[in-house]
């Protein structure tokens, strides 16, 4: 049977380790994904798809949008086939999508990245 619980604070059964439910909702990642050298996401949360716009240029489309564009989006820098470092740039951002470019350190050109890992924190719509 489905049920709904409305509560402000969670504690363990001993009454310790209190946490407000606002931290549970606000502190949870609302979207995350990992992709390897392409637009496929073998695992993700709240992701519609990843669009391959070209080499090193991907758009992550979010299934349930954020309430604004002011969400936080830590992205782990990844590496390329040549073994060098990659830089990350966000080229556009909306409540329902984020477009990310990965750039080789040694050439300053867009290049696909190994294990591009993205997570997003913020308020849902």
């Amino acid at each position: 049977m489905a049920s709904e619980l409305r509560v402000n604070t969670l504690k363990d059964a001993s009454g310790n380790n209190s946490i407000a439910t606002s931290f549970v909702a606000g502190g949870s990642a609302k979207c995350w994904a990992i992709t390897d050298n392409g637009a496929a996401a073998p695992d993700s949360l709240n992701l519609t798809n990843i669009v391959d716009n070209g080499t090193g240029d991907f758009t992550f489309n979010i299934a349930t949008d954020f309430g604004s564009v002011n969400y936080s989006h830590p992205i782990v820098p990844a590496d390329n086939d040549g073994g060098g470092g990659q830089d990350i740039t966000v080229t556009s951002k909306a409540a329902g999508s984020i477009r990310i470019g990965t750039i080789r350190d040694d050439s300053n050109k867009f290049d696909n990245a190994h294990f591009l890992s993205v997570s997003m924190f913020g308020d849902l719509a």
Partner: protein
Amino acid sequence: MASILKVDTLTGVTTAGSISVTGEGNSTTTNLQQGLAKAWVNYNHTAPSVRESFNVSSTTDVSAGIATISWSSNFSNATYSPVIMADADPSSHYAFPSTRATLSGANAVFTTSAHQFCTHNLGATVIDAFYITGQYLGDLA
């Protein structure tokens, strides 16, 4: 009315591992279990030592700039999403994290029980980082 729930374990009714939480905008829901970081660590690779962690059983200093973090409770698959930042000792200038196992390696080492990664400097030489902070999102076993 303010309320406090005292409980040790939260479990979904329809599906034990799935609880919905209403989003901040009051119109959508997000999945509680999937949105939680399943592990995090603040690791000093130069020592090496773990400053603080969650769901980390051990760390292994593989070699210069290469470390392995092992989980207490394993992930259900090796496709979890890591977010790692690294910072070298101020005298050493920069350190950058990579999710690959070695800077020149062909394959990253993601397993359900551990993640091996490397840190490197601007010259693409692997170096131990003073601060490595990582958070891991994914599905637990």
